[in-house]
Amino acid sequence: MKTLEEIQAAIEAAVPGAGVEIVPNPAPSGEHSLRLKPETAVEVATFLRDDGELALDYLSNVTGVDWPDKEIAEKVKVTRAVTKTVDGVEQTAEETVEETRKRVEPGFLEVVYHLFSMARSHGPVVLRMRTGNRSDRVDLPSLTPVWRSAEFQEREIFDLYGVVFKGHPDLRRILMWDGFKDHPMRRDYVAPDDFEYEPTPHDEVLARAQAHRAAQQAAAAAQEGTGQ
């Protein structure tokens, strides 16, 4: 199979301005991936499928990944060399300001596609796409018109992560019920409170079970108060 660089070059040649980036993967698996721009994704995908040499006719796995907003406090050690208020010593030593200034790296949702070729028995080629953010710019082009196998998997990502796939023929919730409002696979999702009976609680469950009992006791006390 072609190397990822060759694939990138081939894509650039076939789809001018595709803007495909290589995302390195440090794990021993060495499965590096290609990040597509949403605007040209469908074109690139069609090329990957139809190109005689690549023939990535089989889309195996589609999945979402949630990367929430990251508050980076310690990494802002970049010397904010503005502090000249010192008595005359070096300014670079003024690292104490970083604690108060936290940089928020905006989060995004990512969709990962694993492609293989059944015709040529090679793969995987990993594609990724990012949404603009996690709230209002969550649409990405659907690759279902290119590979049918994306149909249910993209619906699942829509359901659990809230990525809206433009061009998907039937974008509805698939695993949760229709009236459900949340996107439970997002990392900031909070499960509903049903922690009445937790005989062996730990960590988060313990906290929630205790909170539940406290709330119940408060409610009971309030009811008693109104009753008297």
Binding site: A27, P28, S29, S60, M118, R148, P169, R173, I174
Partner: protein
């Protein structure tokens, strides 16, 4: 109230390119479509699966699978658990084939962490994996026939064989169904020589079982009449829809991950990949029986060649296992198709992202295409021939 079925017929639904030239609703018939929800409580949906079906008389004009009745949040729980703690959960994905699930997950983590597996452990994996395939295929054929109305006999034979294999699993791993046997870098316990002898004994009996099963079913006229030409899946559509496993090979596409990826030690064994011609229910049924025989061949070879040695990589860690940052996609040829695990590690004790690529779920993509134009009774068969397990479909 608008009728979704007519919307669909008018081409506002999923797109009528799929309809394959068949007429969806007869405009002159003057009848309405009848909408039936098959499931989630339905004896032949293999669990809690639902199909919203629109019928024109007996004919299917629309079929929308509805999932999620067994959505157990496997992936979310996996992100909250350590790598090791997810292993017993994988047993419960495809709960008929827990050992192949273990294997796929172990393979993905080993890929992520760059671990080696000792040779004996690889052989043990192949042995238990192929035993799993045998019992899965026997069971899936049994259920298919059960759906056809032959309640009892073939399924009972399949379960009998399964019980023998389950006894082996229990003797090795301690549990009948939820084996939790594999670890990153090997297998949890070593097999004794008595266990291997017991496997040999069961494996020697398997060809006889396969013969009996074929005698019982393959030339049965009723079975042939019910299954031949039903639920035809074209190879191009199968590839595009990501169908894998016996359903794909029944459509004539030669793609078996054991041959393609040559993962584990499958390059050492001689076995054939049976292929179908028509891609109908009968082909899928036959492919399973043929694969069962190929699995027996692999088992015989593996049992002959299994070497002595350790079953765990001595460097492997059970507790405090933290792979380095990165990601990996590991896949195996599970009895139902390509079972993949996609893991992203952020260097912590838990995977950052834990994704299961379930074969049954993706194989259902084309359920509607296979069912359109057939009778209601055939839907049950077509679904049975896809061989789904809801634990894996909904996760």
């Amino acid at each position: 109230m608008t009728n979704p079925a007519t919307e669909y017929a008018a081409g506002q639904g999923i797109g009528d390119a799929r309809l394959d030239g068949r007429m969806v609703v007869d405009p002159d018939s003057g009848t309405d479509l009848l909408e039936v929800a098959m499931g989630p409580h339905h004896p032949s949906t293999h669990g809690v699966f639902r199909m919203d079906v629109a019928l024109d008389g007996e004919r299917i004009t629309r079929l929308k699978p509805v999932f999620g009745y067994l959505h157990r949040n496997h992936e979310k729980l996996g992100e909250g658990h350590t790598y090791l703690a997810s292993m017993p959960y994988t047993d419960r994905l495809d709960y008929i084939c827990s050992l192949t699930n273990n294997w796929a997950y172990a393979l993905a983590v080993e890929k992520l962490a760059g671990q080696e597996v000792p040779e004996r452990a690889e052989y043990l994996r192949v042995i238990v994996g192929e035993l799993t395939r045998v019992q899965n295929h026997a069971l899936s054929v049994g259920f298919l026939i059960q759906d056809m109305g032959a309640s009892g006999t073939p399924l009972m034979y399949a379960f009998r064989e399964r019980e023998k294999i389950l006894d082996l699993f229990e003797a090795l791993t301690g549990s009948r169904m939820m084996c939790n046997y594999m670890r990153f870098g090997g297998c949890r316990v070593d097999a004794t020589s008595e266990w291997l002898d017991a496997v040999r004994k069961v494996v020697t009996g398997l060809p006889q079982f396969a013969d009996e099963f074929e005698q019982l079913l393959c030339t049965n006229e009723i079975l042939m009449a019910r299954t031949q030409g039903v639920g035809v899946l074209r190879p191009e559509l199968a590839v595009s829809a990501g169908v894998t496993g016996p359903a794909l090979r029944a459509a004539g596409v030669n793609y078996d991950i054991r041959k393609v990826d040559r993962y584990s030690i499958y390059d050492r064994f001689k076995f054939k990949v049976p292929l179908g011609e028509h891609g109908d229910v009968y082909d899928r049924f036959m492919i399973r029986l043929l694969e069962l025989r190929e699995s027996i061949k692999i088992l015989e070879q593996a049992l002959k060649e299994i070497p002595d040695g350790p079953v765990m990589d001595p460097k492997a860690k059970i507790r405090n296992f933290r792979p380095k940052v990165g990601e990996a996609y590991g896949r195996i040829e599970a009895p139902k198709g390509e079972l993949g695990f996609y893991l992203i590690s952020d260097g912590g004790p838990n995977p950052y992202r834990y994704r299961v690529r379930p074969p049954s779920f993706v194989n259902l993509t084309i359920l509607e295409d296979m069912c359109l134009g057939h009778n209601v009774a055939d839907v049950v068969l077509i679904l049975g021939s896809v061989d789904i397990v809801l634990g894996e479909v909904d996760r």
